[in-house]
């Protein structure tokens, strides 16, 4: 694992998340649906000026449910 090719392209964290995603996608249907939610990440930010917060702005729109 220490001499692996992925070290040229990814950080350990990214490698970890790729492996976790692969495990989640291999579960039986019922477990997989519960697990897929754990893979979703979202980010939103808010700009503050003069003690007033601005609007919450999502960084990435979450995936629409099919």
């Amino acid at each position: 694992m220490s001499g692996a090719i992925w070290r040229q392209h990814f950080t350990f964290n990214k490698y970890s998340q790729i492996a976790a995603r692969a495990v989640r996608q291999s579960l039986v249907e019922a477990e997989r649906l519960k697990a897929e939610k754990r893979g979703d990440t979202g980010l939103k930010y808010q700009k503050w000026e003069n003690g007033q917060g601005g609007n919450h702005i999502p960084f990435n729109q979450p995936k629409e449910d099919a």
Partner: protein
């Protein structure tokens, strides 16, 4: 007062100079059949084991597969995506598959395994693994970028390891 002080100081002095018979680290030996190790197997969202006494834990460390018994020497091992078997008592074992993480053997006969993602082996679907592996091998054989192929290689390793683990069910 002076006499009292001299007695106590000489007694203390003698005690300090006497070599302790038991070294604080303890003698290393083999685990007895009845000895157990405290296992904490945790995922970010769930604790599968919380300081529970178990007999043996088999892990897939990056440096090789290993079995951890009671009173194991302290160690920190990164884990590959692979099978994790917990032998709770002689005869009963539970198998899990984890995506990776770290196993830490503490000096006080405790084992902490932090895994990113994992589930009992029966929660995995061999058909899903087979089709995922086929998809990923298509990427590996295609003409994507090196990074895409590296990502596909990571996933292929996970699926192949999962197939091997499911084969031993």
């Amino acid at each position: 007062m002076a006499a009292l002080r001299s007695i106590t100081s000489s007694a203390a002095f003698a005690a300090v100079r006497r070599t302790p018979t038991a070294v604080s680290l303890g003698r290393r030996g083999y685990a007895e059949a009845a000895d157990k190790i405290k296992l904490s197997l945790v995922l970010p969202h769930q604790a599968l084991y919380a300081s529970q006494d178990v007999v043996q834990v088999n892990i897939s460390a990056a440096t090789g597969d290993m079995g951890i018994l009671a009173n194991h020497a302290p160690a920190i091992e990164p884990l590959r995506a692979g099978l994790l078997e917990v032998i709770e008592s002689a005869g009963t074992s539970k198998k899990f598959f984890i995506s990776g993480g770290f196993a830490t053997v503490h000096p006080n006969n405790a084992l902490t395994i932090n895994a990113v993602e994992g589930a009992p082996l029966e929660d995995f679907s061999p058909e899903a693994v087979r089709s995922n592996l086929a998809d990923v091998q298509r990427v590996l054989g295609g003409n994507g970028s090196e990074a895409e192929k590296a990502e596909a290689r990571i996933e292929a390793d996970v699926y192949e390891s999962l197939q091997y683990a499911l084969g031993t069910k």
